[in-house]
């Protein structure tokens, strides 16, 4: 534990050094440029991250660069992969849109057994992806699902409310010590470093995934997130992912998150539990619906 913590701190120190350089000169990945933008401040002088944010990319389909695919779950066809029978009815709506990827270096460094599990996950996507059952999304996946989330930031608290499944994160500003119990959304502890909010997330269970392509983790997952306003309506989001039971080294994703500027934008109800009852319990109705 202690050793792990030290490793984490070293990792964070290295990451912040990189970020410092990035702020002054280097382009931040995913962005055309990162000028020395100074965020508007809250009344207590911190960069103001309040607002409704959302990713605009294909990371939730597949973190890595990928071409379009016929469906999230595939079967072999006479001339190449086709949508699996259980997702066939969705047609083009069920296809996977192409994406340039959000993984730095594009490689997810799986250990051999974990890579086999990832492939298995992908082959059995419909029955395995926790998103299908409306389970809590975990971190970092919650931040790049196709739903907005809202950051509430005051001098004494930071809180994130996600539209998807009504997931929430209370972000501790003081470390309360080790998480008392493993959870889907983990235990988040934040600190400020100049323009950047750094959130250290631990205490996960092993149930959530990273995307609809079967990318996953164990309960040893440790995520370090960095939120930096780089334009009035853009946050740069980075997450360093470490899980020695699943990956051979830490790896990093990064992407912009955009402010929802739509008129009347708000976090609305997406209580999807209701929407999966037929899937999960329909067979137990007194009169099951006809197929």
């Amino acid at each position: 534990m202690r050793e792990g913590l030290n490793r984490v701190m070293l990792g964070m120190a290295a990451a912040s050094a990189v970020a410092l350089v990035a702020l002054t000169a280097l382009p931040v990945s995913g962005q055309a440029q990162a000028p020395a933008y100074r965020s508007p401040r809250t009344a207590d002088g911190k960069p103001n991250l309040n607002g409704i944010w959302q990713a605009n990319n294909e990371a939730n389909y597949d973190l890595q660069s990928h071409m379009a695919r016929p469906a999230m779950q595939l079967r072999a066809g006479p001339f190449g992969p086709l949508p699996a029978a259980n997702v066939l009815a969705l047609g083009a709506v069920g296809a996977v849109p192409p994406g340039p990827g959000v993984v730095e270096g594009d490689e997810i460094p799986y250990l051999p057994a974990a890579l086999a599990q990832k492939k298995k996950n992908q082959e059995n996507w419909a029955t395995s992806d926790p998103e299908v059952k409306c389970y809590l999304p975990g971190v970092p996946r919650a931040n790049y699902m196709p739903y907005p989330f809202q950051i509430f930031q005051s001098a004494s608290a930071i809180f994130m409310a996600y539209e998807y499944a009504g997931a929430v994160r209370n972000i501790y500003l003081k470390d309360p010590g080790p998480a008392p119990v493993d959870s889907w959304m983990g235990q988040s502890v934040a600190r400020w470093e100049g323009e950047t909010l750094i959130i250290d997330v631990k205490g996960f269970n092993d149930q959530s995934w990273f995307d609809r392509s079967g990318n996953f983790h164990s309960e040893a997952l440790h995520v370090v997130e960095r939120y930096t306003r780089i334009q009035p309506d853009v946050l740069n989001y980075e997450a360093t992912i470490e899980d020695p039971k699943t990956f051979s080294r830490p790896w990093k994703i990064s992407m912009p998150l955009y402010r929802r500027l739509d008129r009347g934008a708000q976090i609305m109800d997406f209580k999807c539990v209701e929407f999966v009852e037929e899937l999960m319990y329909g067979q137990y109705r007194k009169k099951p619906l006809s197929p």
Binding site: S156, F159, E274
Partner: protein
């Protein structure tokens, strides 16, 4: 939960809470119409960075004071409060004793008791966290959360009077249904949609999220975070968030939300939250989507928030004969007390098993009938 409330109410009667009706009526009225109870003791709440009263924190809303009261007086004496609290503590201590290893198995179908730990035993004492103390406002312990009407009873409309929370046949229980509500209605186990919202993990039970937010059997924590434009109110069970938009009009009627559409403004040091635009799914107390709840949040002192609410349903089928109001305190949680992730749906084996069990019983009954 309801059973526990009733049990508690019974205990109060036994404890001999007697009061003069005339005096009580005046007292109750006064509580409702006067400015916030804090007025009696001037207190200036701390301010947020933008100068508003700071209501932020993690609160424990559990209490031994029931929603309604069978007695006349909204107040009880300090001695009575101490007795109620001591009785509860003693009962919990007994319930926490190790079980007798040589005890017999419970009888098939349960032992006839009801409540959270009744029947075949839903919970043991460990899970139950419904408070250790009664509500105290202005130094005086309270016998009920309802303060208006002054008799401390919800003014049910004639058609629902006496029916309590019992759901009509083929109607799913409402958002304030108890966690262990017994739905004996015909067909109550035919479909998942007919089970209580709490059992389906769609919301917490007993109107824990509200509005109106009421204390329940366990997981009574709330968290408030304020920004210049919003006040966020989190209910621990089922991680339900209400995002109060400050100084904004309500959404159009086409936008309806499980917990309604809350908008807020400040009246002095009191946060007033007005909530409308409910769905037809929550139906607090049997209300319509026209349910209208006004809540008032103010700080009584550094550790106590006074939560007051008025409930009305202007629709033609209101379950109440007139608007009614309640108030109780939320206590700041100890700094080392955690608000936990209430991942209900993710581990909800019960809903499927309850329905599956019913199908199994039906099949058994069918086969038994064939053999006869």
């Amino acid at each position: 939960m309801r059973d526990r409330m009733l049990a508690f109410a019974g205990a109060l009667v036994v404890a001999g809470v007697v009061a003069s009706l005339g005096l009580v009526a005046v007292e109750g009225q006064t509580q409702v119409t006067r400015a916030p109870a804090a007025a009696a003791r001037p207190y200036t709440p701390p301010r947020t960075a933008d100068g508003k009263p700071d209501l932020q924190g993690v609160y424990d809303t559990s209490t031994l004071t029931p929603l309604e009261r069978p007695t006349a007086d909204v107040h009880m004496t300090d001695e009575e409060a101490k007795r109620v609290e001591a009785q509860t503590a003693a009962r919990r201590e007994r319930a926490s004793l190790p079980s007798n290893a040589s005890r017999q198995a419970p009888p098939v179908g349960g032992d006839g008791s009801s409540g959270a730990a009744g029947n075949v035993g839903g919970y043991n004492n460990f899970w139950i966290d419904s408070g250790d103390t009664v509500v105290v406002i202005n130094g005086r312990p309270r016998t009920s959360i309802v303060v208006d009407p002054p008799d401390g009873r919800i003014p049910r409309a004639a058609r629902t009077a006496g029916r309590g929370f019992a759901p009509a046949a083929a109607v799913a229980p409402t958002s304030d249904a108890a966690e262990n509500v017994v739905t004996a209605a015909r067909g109550a186990y035919d479909n998942p949609e007919q089970r209580p919202l709490g059992e389906r993990c769609l919301m917490g039970f007993g109107s824990t999220s509200g509005p109106p937010a009421l204390p329940v059997l366990y997981n009574n924590f709330k968290q408030i975070v304020q920004t210049p434009e919003h006040v966020m109110i989190l209910t621990e069970m089922n991680h339900d968030v209400r995002i109060v938009r400050m100084n904004q009009p309500h959404r159009p009627k086409s936008i309806r939300m499980w917990l309604g559409d809350p908008v807020g403004h400040w009246e002095g040091d009191t946060l007033v939250v007005d909530t409308t635009n409910f769905t037809e799914k929550t139906r607090y107390g049997g209300s319509s989507p026209d349910l209208h709840v006004v809540e008032r949040f103010s700080r009584l002192d550094d550790k106590t928030l006074l939560y007051r609410f008025t409930v009305e349903d202007p629709g033609p089928n209101s379950p109440w004969s007139k608007p009614w109001s309640g108030e109780y305190t939320w206590r700041l949680a100890a700094p080392d007390d955690h608000l936990y992730e209430y991942a209900c749906h993710e581990g909800n084996y019960a809903l499927g098993d309850i329905l599956r069990g019913e199908r199994l019983l039906e099949k058994e009954a069918e086969e038994a009938a064939k053999q006869r």
